[in-house]
Point group: C3
Chain length 404, copies 3
Amino acid sequence: MENLTVEQYEQLKEIADLALFSANNAWLLNATVLVFMMHLGFAMLEAGFVAPKNIINILFKNTMVICIGLLTYYLFGFGLMYPGDEYAGGFFGFGGFGANLPEGYNSLTYAKGNYTYWTEFIFQAMFAATAATIVSGAVAERIKLESFLIFTTFLVSICYPITGFWFWGQGWLAKLGFHDLAGSTMIHISGGTAALVMAVLLGPRHGKYNEDGTINQMYVNNLPFVAVGVFLLWFGWFGFNGGSVLSAAPETVSKVFAITALGGASGAIGALISAYARFKQYDLVMTLNGILGGLVAITAGADLLTPAAAIFIGFFFGLLVPYLVHMFDLIRIDDPVGATTVHLIGGLWGTMAVGIFTDVSFLVQLVGAICVFAFTLVFSFLIGYILLATLGLRVTVEKEEAGL
Amino acid sequence: MENLTVEQYEQLKEIADLALFSANNAWLLNATVLVFMMHLGFAMLEAGFVAPKNIINILFKNTMVICIGLLTYYLFGFGLMYPGDEYAGGFFGFGGFGANLPEGYNSLTYAKGNYTYWTEFIFQAMFAATAATIVSGAVAERIKLESFLIFTTFLVSICYPITGFWFWGQGWLAKLGFHDLAGSTMIHISGGTAALVMAVLLGPRHGKYNEDGTINQMYVNNLPFVAVGVFLLWFGWFGFNGGSVLSAAPETVSKVFAITALGGASGAIGALISAYARFKQYDLVMTLNGILGGLVAITAGADLLTPAAAIFIGFFFGLLVPYLVHMFDLIRIDDPVGATTVHLIGGLWGTMAVGIFTDVSFLVQLVGAICVFAFTLVFSFLIGYILLATLGLRVTVEKEEAGL
Amino acid sequence: MENLTVEQYEQLKEIADLALFSANNAWLLNATVLVFMMHLGFAMLEAGFVAPKNIINILFKNTMVICIGLLTYYLFGFGLMYPGDEYAGGFFGFGGFGANLPEGYNSLTYAKGNYTYWTEFIFQAMFAATAATIVSGAVAERIKLESFLIFTTFLVSICYPITGFWFWGQGWLAKLGFHDLAGSTMIHISGGTAALVMAVLLGPRHGKYNEDGTINQMYVNNLPFVAVGVFLLWFGWFGFNGGSVLSAAPETVSKVFAITALGGASGAIGALISAYARFKQYDLVMTLNGILGGLVAITAGADLLTPAAAIFIGFFFGLLVPYLVHMFDLIRIDDPVGATTVHLIGGLWGTMAVGIFTDVSFLVQLVGAICVFAFTLVFSFLIGYILLATLGLRVTVEKEEAGL
């Protein structure tokens, strides 16, 4: 062949670069759509767990969470989470309001050609809203709508982006070597802690706990809704974990998919067995919660774990699920959908499992989990308490009994 | 290095070309699947809005629309919309029956290596069927099934492809510089106009409007179905808008995703606020319709708008939604699902917004919107009137009361 | 230009190779997620067909099938289906327990750079579980849960992988020139045969068939659930067929999508017409079953058929669906969801249609269909009979009447 001309070389390079860029970027956008579906999953899950009289209320809350979440994340959440430069030693930063192309922006160099600025924004915005959605199940059937929406707004747009910056925004946790692929800590401990705080501040639903220590099953769950919700969440989780690889790197994303499938499946089997041991019958609700628990638990390490480790992690946590749900009832923290168990405890176990089953430092994982827990606890308590003292958190007893 | 051999160069070029081609083509096919899901979204939305006695009827209609739509678009719709050459000055053309590979077809050159002939066919076929689906909500609970199916067939396979050819088939509107990324005009004004014509020809449901001017709320909506429908539509809209870029060009498709998310979210907030102002309560139905309205409104310009403009466009239209729905009731056009408001008025606003917020000519946008409206109006009226005069459009009063 | 350096050449080649690899691999993973959704589709379809008292039971069964299916396919199904080397003349082989990267594994050469080892595992695992799900509809409302789960485990992890190896694992059927893109035989005849065997061993539900030969309609179906199920299955089928191409090869995958859409649509029209001819009314259930029948029937040849042939194949089978469902009732094989008709007979027709409408040998197709049928028949009968003789297959009459 004649020598390659400069033009031929550059054209060839451009095609190859664009092809790789397009494949990577499309992967993240497809993942974004899957994560979007998780919002319908949460809506159906929670609609299935509440009394029929409260279904419209819970659908309304879930609809608002995604809408408010996307808009406030646009307004300042994104700027808080990806400030661009470090501030305050990697603890806090702010890159400005809105989503504005950084100066000198070049899409091919922005993220090594893996995704564009807009992809980063929209993928992260969908993620942010899931953290808030976790809360809505735990506070169902008694919270004032306005107070819930205000709380959600603060959580999505301030609390979550700050802790998110610590790790995903390359803050202090990232520098320590913390590992959390898709958010066992960043999403699930964060959302689960906020759920716990609000459930405690609210107190249990009227009629849930009797004086003599017994617990009332308040109504029959709508199990088709719960099942649809869990399947949609699992569906979305492939995007949640697969997209968090932040490229379509074949080896990693495919392994993440295998782990995500096996984690959910083994959580189901674990929960089925221990629920059978306890209640002497097959329990669909616990089995479905076991799937979610298994998924939360393999979320931190889906890129690093072996399949065998993932199966153990999911199965073991599945075994605990029925007992943990019961434990929260024993201490009279009323969480109608079991969100605290699945997300907070599952997220903690998933984060620590990375320290146990891979080379990542156990101690660093513990520090990360505790710090996100503590920050979210304090933040949620402050916002929750201010709401309690001003607007009030709970609807009246009459309204609670009539349905929201 | 030794000189590159011709073989090495060509092999390298082939891999790079195929990689880019595969990424682009896969993007469109994934978008096709998302658009397919919109048909389930419409089915659930409409099932949620009709009386329980008519749910089976509406599910049947929505099932038939996608099946008839795909088949008739194959038989001649595709040939009408993409005639290949101009005929009659870009107003009308026909490229033949069926979907046949063009002579001398080369997949790598067909669409600059962005997608294959089959991808173009199936993506466009899914789109075509959505225009017809818009009608089914507006005519619910009183139309004769046969008349509806015949009307649908004409709309999908003749009316929509002709106006579609004007712009997407590179007809006169395309040459004028009209801009409509994913069909605020081509799909939503088209479908919305047909819906309006048929709702007028049919007249309102019995018992909807009282002599004294008051309006009856005829039954309780099934809100979980409506919510599922809207979430599935939003899910599908990412494919609807994202696929309309016609390649996986990273910068454009990612911006389109961000705009699609923000448009729907801001529509919800707008509708929530104005419904609250009017009814003094939170209104889930209006909020969900606000999401759809926001989505329709950013569909024409999702590739050109800034996020701030998209938020304004969605929010502003959301504010109007409750008033527009009421307005149609005031003039006694009975549209059980609000399709005329969301699709026709939303599509008009979206088309004009491109003329306001971008460099595209306002006048050209107006011309495009009016011409598609006028053509569809006349076409729908003719077909509708012929059906009225022959088969009849409405079921008997007894049947309407008993349920379809 | 100066000569290309070795480094420049290799870097360029690496980018181009990785881009193509990423696009292909992502295609299969997206297909995997779509196939996952089929499990929710089956769950909703079957939940819509059973009596309300049995909905929880059927949801539980469908939840367990995917979980057990994924885990047992991991444990030994994958090793049976892809033994790596031939054993016993291509009839049976075993590559080891678990999913372990083969020695000397190189992701870029593993499958010609089309997908990774993990992608192959997880895509095939999702597939395997669908075969078992087919059974759960046919045995609904009377089978003992434990017996069903044990049967499922054997089917997914032993029977299906062995016949799968014959063709997909490059065993004797592959060498004969058998063609079955996505499993008209390998999935649908396999699952449909197991469904038939179990339905026969179980006998009909109490009260289904009267002494005088008439048949009782036992309850009203939940048609929204059935419709949701069918739409989700169609949605997933794009991944089922599209992913089976095993790369994102633009021409082939796009044609497969077009065929998959047209096959389902024409099946609906066929079933609508013949159900109308028989019952003188539009029948939503038959129309929806017609979609599934059409999809099963074009699954074997979706890559080879012309659109016209696909429409004929789907339409023709759609015409038969109402008669076949009735025929199974005449010989008192009680199959509450029509799975035997749709999957077994549809799969047979689809397999043979490849021999009729393409260049593939009719005889080889017949041999393949018969051998998979015969093997699955014997295997299912043995397992089913052992279960019958030990645990028992049926619940008590009281339990059947009270609901599972």
